[in-house]
């Protein structure tokens, strides 16, 4: 009897190991600290109610400047569109777990295309005033079951300069809401504990159009294209990127293994697919679309940004996929990269080749299962059920509606 059961157990084990080994040949399953959640389906796990805000908060801004659809902050617009037609949307706000307000705070662009965040706090304030006066749900929780997409440089601090952003801090009215933002740095004023970090928007069709066959051999060791010194705002160096990019340039400009320059080649995407490591150093803010590009093109990201919080950090084990280099260790970057064992590098490439990894970084139109929209919903679903303390008693007020700089209090 025991012989037969052990035999069947052995057979079962062999079968499973064979089937999993088959899978492991090319890619590996990705499981982060929240478990194997990249392929979770959020439908049925949460319900989102989308407020009907006047079009001056969303459509009119987009009409004024359609460039908002293609820059790296376009996630806020696409999230709105996705939610409008998603199965998690509910038209009955009483049964909703999460409330979404479609505001596009990053859609006020300069002629060169950079977003100006100066009016965003006022826009947010006015939207929240509208929500709290027209619907009772804000006042029930003071926004704790509401979420907002704020993809700008420093999230809800609404400034592009770090000191000013730190000075302002997160908009006081958003203190209790969940923020979905691209900025993430540990122990930073502009990252709230419960925020969900998302990747910046990178146009999926453009990247698909530049794919090359996977058997083209990877012949570049380290690749980077971008600024090392921001001559307009910081000609000295040392301020931009906390001196890390300048250190990369000064130490490795003559190193044949490092293909780094400030060029804008047309073969940028193709070159990334021919490289083993792609540098993703911080700039004025620690996040950059390079991370998304590196993941999509299978190039191991080398992240040089102290204390950065990467997108979907609880679902994606970034430690196993990318290489983290402290800013103080930049002069030894070549030693660090060449001393990584071969097996580790091959494993990282296998993880990157996993299609669910690439999907999770993209915002495709229309939405596909496993993409960044679904990861955001998964993240929101993981925060459910809401803690009891979220609900306030009637008449109780926590938020200070007059906090913040005087300029913010002006109506929008």
């Amino acid at each position: 009897m025991t012989n037969r059961s052990s035999l069947s157990a052995i057979l079962l084990f062999l079968f499973f190991s064979a089937s999993s080994a088959q899978h492991n040949v090319r890619t590996e399953r990705i499981s982060g600290s929240a478990g194997d959640v990249l392929e979770d389906n959020p439908v049925g796990k949460l319900k989102v109610y989308v407020y009907e805000l006047p079009s001056k908060y969303n459509k009119k801004l987009l009409q004024k400047d359609p460039r908002c659809l293609t820059h790296m902050f376009a996630a806020e617009i696409f999230m709105h569109r996705f939610l409008l037609s998603s199965p998690v949307r509910t038209l009955n706000p009483d049964e909703a777990d999460w409330f979404y307000s479609p505001i596009y705070p990053t859609c006020d662009l300069t002629p060169t295309g950079l977003p100006l965040p100066f009016k965003s706090p006022r826009m947010m304030r006015s939207a929240i005033q509208l929500i709290s006066s027209n619907w009772p749900y804000w006042n029930k929780t003071e926004g704790a079951d509401h979420f907002f997409v704020v993809p700008h440089d420093f999230g809800a601090c609404f400034h592009y300069q770090e000191e000013k952003a730190i000075e302002r801090g997160i908009l006081p009215l958003l203190k209790r809401a969940t923020l979905v933002q691209t900025f993430g740095q540990r122990n930073h004023v502009c990252l709230d504990q419960g925020s969900i970090t998302i990747p910046p928007f990178a146009p999926p069709q453009k990247m698909q159009a530049h794919l090359i066959p996977p058997d083209v051999p990877r012949s570049i060791f380290v690749y980077f294209r971008g600024l090392f010194y921001d001559v307009n705002n910081d000609p000295e160096g040392g301020y931009y990127a906390r001196g890390a990019r300048a250190a990369v340039w000064e130490n490795f400009k003559n190193n044949p293994l490092f293909d780094i320059s400030t060029d804008h080649p047309t073969t940028y995407y193709e070159d990334m697919q021919r490289s083993i490591f792609c540098l993703c150093p911080l700039g004025w803010a620690p996040w950059s679309p390079r991370l998304v590009e590196a993941v999509v093109f299978g190039c191991i990201p080398v992240i040089i940004a102290d204390d950065i919080v990467l997108p979907f950090a609880d679902a994606i084990p970034w430690e196993e996929i990318g290489v983290f280099v402290a800013e103080k260790d930049v002069p030894e970057l070549d030693t660090i990269l060449t001393s990584i064992p071969t097996e580790v590098i091959l494993r990282k490439q296998r993880l990157l080749a996993n299609p669910s990894m690439k999907q999770a970084m993209l915002f495709p139109q229309p939405a596909q299962p496993g993409d960044a929209f679904h990861q955001i919903l998964n993240g929101l679903a993981r925060k459910l059920p809401h803690d009891g303390s979220v609900y306030l008693k009637a008449g109780e007020k926590v938020l200070n509606w007059t906090a913040g700089p005087v300029g913010d209090l002006k109506p929008w």
Binding site: R26, E162, N187, P214, D215, Y239, G243, P256, L346
Partner: protein, 489 residues
């Protein structure tokens, strides 16, 4: 305060020479509410900071200079944000976070540069090993699963252009990333010229001679070439070579992708061949094109399979020889366009197992049993398609011949052209254009005049056992010409 003094001392390090020009009192009056220190104190600080910068290797910026020249206290807090932020941030940071405070601060940081900028050669070696390993992994994952050997069959014969053609073929085959067996069948018997090319290639080669001489007309030449190819297939059968047989004609040009693509052949495959029927005579070609203007447009110069929309092979596209009807070359050195035969051998590849005697069982039904042919009992009729019973079953490569991977070309020299055997110049060349000034000129003799006829008399670089044309001791490139001419004279 410590940081401030560190910055100041770093400033001193950089501007050691200009420091003397500064007035210490105004310097201090800017921000340090202390009585002016003694010069010894400054000297000590200076030495200490030189040592520190030697160890740390920091590069301090010009802004420190700016910072130190600013006189108002408010400037202190706004211009060098780093220092002030450090002082201001810490209390607010601690208020927000209960865990450890951030070690990342905003503001100006030093740019760290290591003292020895050159890469470590061991690390470079390691990086190259990593690259190789990654590429190997890529190849095994995405490349051809089980690469088969390439058996290249080349019929050739000795003539002026052979060196040009065979060099091209040799280089192409040497670049192929798979195992190559090069079977060279030579008309007129084995010769040293061909043997030297075959030997230089460093490939596995089989060089055989074929007893007939290559005839002078294109049509006969084509027939003999087919016979030579069959001979090569006989060799494949005897040696039981395993791989993919490709017909690499010596004057054709092959792309590298061709050899990758033929790995996908199972039994018998067809490719698209670009037909470059160019005679070298531009007038001929334009007249040909002119006569065709009224009619249909010139068809594609391709020979290859043609499929319907579902990808099934439905027919063959052959080169339209009609426009060239009256002006084709008959003899090998005619100055007219050379036409390809209906179906060129180079457009087909086959699995060598088709030729083995033993594989009668594995062979698919639509391929003829070639043993009869190879035994010499039959004659090959109209090209490679006669090897298959059912031409519609032929496999098409490269998405039904969408990409042209090789080009057919026939270029030969004049019939009477001669060339130095092995292209080695044994005895010195004749001078065709003498140099103006020579060191051994006799004062009494005149320079000979080189007439135009002389130049025209030498179309091919022929070795003539010629006498020098009234030449004095002429300077020649590194040969013994001067001596001989002088002696002959």
């Amino acid at each position: 305060m410590k940081l401030l003094s560190a910055f100041r001392s770093s400033y001193l390090n950089r501007r050691g020479s200009t420091f003397r020009s500064l007035d210490p009192s105004s310097f201090d009056g800017a921000f340090i509410p202390k009585p002016s220190p003694s010069s010894i104190f400054w000297l000590a600080i200076h030495c200490l900071c030189c040592l520190i910068s030697l160890i740390l290797g920091f590069r301090f910026s010009h802004l420190v200079l700016f910072f130190l020249f600013s006189t108002s206290v408010t400037n202190l807090y706004t211009t060098t944000a780093g220092v002030s932020q450090l002082l201001q941030l810490k209390p607010s940071e601690k208020a927000n976070v209960t865990a450890k405070s951030s070690r990342v601060v905003v503001g100006r940081h030093g740019i760290r540069i290591r003292p020895w900028p050159h890469p470590n050669p061991i690390e470079v070696m390691r990086a190259h090993q990593l690259l190789e390993r990654v590429q190997k992994e890529q190849k095994s994952l995405y490349g051809v699963r089980r690469p088969r050997a390439v058996i290249a069959v080349t019929p050739t014969y000795v003539r002026t252009f052979q060196a040009l053609h065979l060099t091209g073929v040799m280089h192409s085959l040497m670049l192929v990333p798979y195992d190559v067996v090069w079977i060279v069948v030579e008309a007129g018997g084995k010769s040293n010229e061909t043997a030297s090319f075959v030997g230089k290639s460093r490939l596995k080669t089989i060089h055989v001679g074929f007893d007939q001489k290559m005839p002078n007309t294109w049509e006969d030449r084509g027939k003999l070439e087919s016979k030579m190819r069959i001979q090569a297939l006989r060799i494949v059968r005897e040696e039981k070579l395993d791989g993919i047989v490709v017909f690499v004609d010596d004057s054709n040009m092959h792309s590298m992708e061709l050899f990758d693509e033929i790995q996908n052949v199972r039994w018998f495959g067809a490719l698209s061949v670009g037909i470059l029927a160019h005679s070298g005579n531009a007038d001929e070609l334009s007249s040909v094109l002119k006569t065709n203007q009224e009619g249909k447009p010139l068809s594609m110069p391709i020979q290859g399979p043609s499929c319907d929309s579902s990808g099934k092979l439905v027919g063959w596209h052959v080169f339209n020889t009609q426009p060239y009807a009256t002006k084709t070359a008959v003899y090998v050195d005619d100055k007219a366009a050379v036409m390809p035969s209906k179906m060129e051998w180079s457009g087909f590849v086959l699995n060598s197992r088709l030729l083995w005697k033993e594989s009668a069982v594995d062979r698919p039904a639509w391929v003829k049993d070639v043993n009869n042919l190879l035994d010499g009992n039959e004659e090959i009729e109209d090209g490679p398609l006669s090897l298959v019973k059912d031409p519609s079953m032929v496999e098409t490569l490269e998405s039904c011949g969408r990409n042209v991977l090789l080009w057919w070309l026939r270029v030969e020299a004049r019939a009477d052209s001669k060339f130095p055997p092995g292209w080695i110049i044994k005895s010195p060349l004749d001078i065709t254009v003498p140099s103006e000034r020579t060191p051994w000129l006799d004062s009494s003799s005149k320079l000979p005049v080189v007439t135009k006829e002389e130049k025209n008399n030498q179309p091919a670089t022929e070795k003539r056992s010629g006498k020098p044309r009234g030449s004095k001791s002429k300077n020649n490139r590194g040969t013994q010409e001067p001596k001989t001419t002088r002696s002959r004279k």
